[in-house]
């Protein structure tokens, strides 16, 4: 538990440092995720040692968005009377993006024979 948490925080810290030092357009935690994925692939023992803690944190991923979500309620006036237009923009664009991405994935997977087993 202690070691796994330390590895997770240190990875994030390294990511935050690198993304700032190199002025990369991606956030530190995402960079940390990429680095840890590579480390997990290279060292299966590390992956298994960290599995319980990582699964524990991921088990309630939705919970972590609640504080930011509560912040949205107090800031709805930031929509500046554009509520309808922006709501429609979000609803339609999200539906279109999910549809387009999923259909493209399925189509290209079929064309290239990259089916799942």
């Amino acid at each position: 538990m202690l070691h796994a948490l330390t590895v997770i925080l240190a990875t994030q810290l390294g990511g935050e440092f690198l993304t700032r030092a190199l002025a990369l357009p991606i956030p530190g935690p995402v960079l940390g995720m990429v680095a840890l994925t590579i480390a997990f692939a290279a060292f299966p023992k590390l992956r298994e040692a960290m599995r319980p803690v990582a699964q524990g944190i991921l088990g309630h991923l939705s919970l972590l968005f609640v504080p930011a979500g509560v912040g949205v309620i107090g800031n709805l006036q930031a929509l500046k009377g554009m509520g309808l237009g922006l709501t429609l923009a979000i609803l339609v664009s999200t539906a279109l993006a999910i549809t387009a991405a999923a259909l493209t994935f399925a189509l290209v997977a079929r064309l290239t024979g990259a089916t799942d087993d």
Binding site: I8, L9, T11, Q12, P25, I26, P27, G28, P29, V30, G32, M33, L36, F40, A41, V53, A54, Q55, L58, H60, L61, S62, L63, L64, F65, V66, P67, A68, G69, V70, G71, V72, I73, G74, N75, L76, A78, L79, K80, M82, G85, L86, A89, I90, V92, S93, T94, A95, A97, I98, T99, A100, A101, A102, L103, F105, A106, A109, A114, D116
Partner: protein
């Protein structure tokens, strides 16, 4: 005996009360979600946010006071993002096999999300600042805020639009993808991660582990692609 009002005024200023309230509200939301057979419309985040919003309003508590307690939960977003390495590493061989579908779906999904949102908002008369805040809304919050600020968008408004996009994606994905009769968990998860970042990814994990892993990948890749494409697309749609 101390007055209840005094105890309240003491507790409502500290982090303990609001941290407990956050976990309790999410617990209620999660119980409702399970009781409703994991129906997408009964979204645990939406329920918890509504309950807490009402509680803060009733008790006239400022968001800053609430966040004193809630920040401990909020902080875990970073470590949780790092932990997505686990499902990614577990699925690495399948991700490698799906390289072409992944890249094609990423570009199509990312461009569709930005271009369609900008076109609709512009039709409603949105100004340049609003469009800048809207363009990166499918990317994960820290990336989206950074991109929007770089283009002249307001950070608070961007955060609102990002969260609303995430909740929208988490709610509509399952019925929409069922309607499209797509059964490939990779395609379903990846599309949700691209369109609605971490909140969509959290939903994908609730549905299927493969969908969750591909959603995490979609979220990460779209964070990078949005940073590259948002300024270009915004220029096309500026009034």
């Amino acid at each position: 005996m101390t007055d209840v009002a005094q105890i309240w005024s003491y507790l409502s200023q500290g982090p303990l009360l609001w941290l407990t309230a956050t976990l309790t509200a999410y617990g209620i939301g999660d119980t409702c979600f399970r009781a409703a057979n994991r129906a997408p419309l009964v979204n645990p985040v939406l329920i918890a946010v509504t309950l807490l919003g009402a509680l803060l309003w009733l008790t006239a508590t400022p968001y800053a006071t609430y966040f004193e307690g809630a920040q401990f939960v909020h902080f875990l977003l970073g470590p949780a993002t790092v932990c997505l390495a686990l499902p990614l590493a577990d699925n690495l061989p399948r991700l490698r096999r799906a390289l072409l579908p992944v890249l094609a779906a990423l570009v199509v999904g990312s461009v569709t999300a930005m271009a369609s949102a900008l076109a609709i908002a512009r039709a409603f008369g949105a100004d340049a600042g609003l469009l800048a805040a809207l363009a990166p809304k499918s990317a994960t919050a820290p990336v989206a805020i950074g991109i929007a600020e770089g283009m002249g968008g307001q950070p608070t408004l961007t955060a609102v639009l990002v969260i609303l996009t995430g909740i929208t994606g988490a709610i509509i994905a399952t019925p929409l993808l069922n309607f499209l009769r797509l059964k490939d968990w990779r395609a379903r998860g990846f599309a949700v991660g691209v369109a609605s970042h971490g909140i969509g990814t959290a939903r994908a994990f609730q549905v299927h582990p493969t969908a969750g892993a591909f959603a995490g990948l979609g979220m990460a890749l779209n964070a990078v692609l949005t940073a590259l494409l948002a300024p270009l697309l915004l220029r096309l749609f500026l009034p």
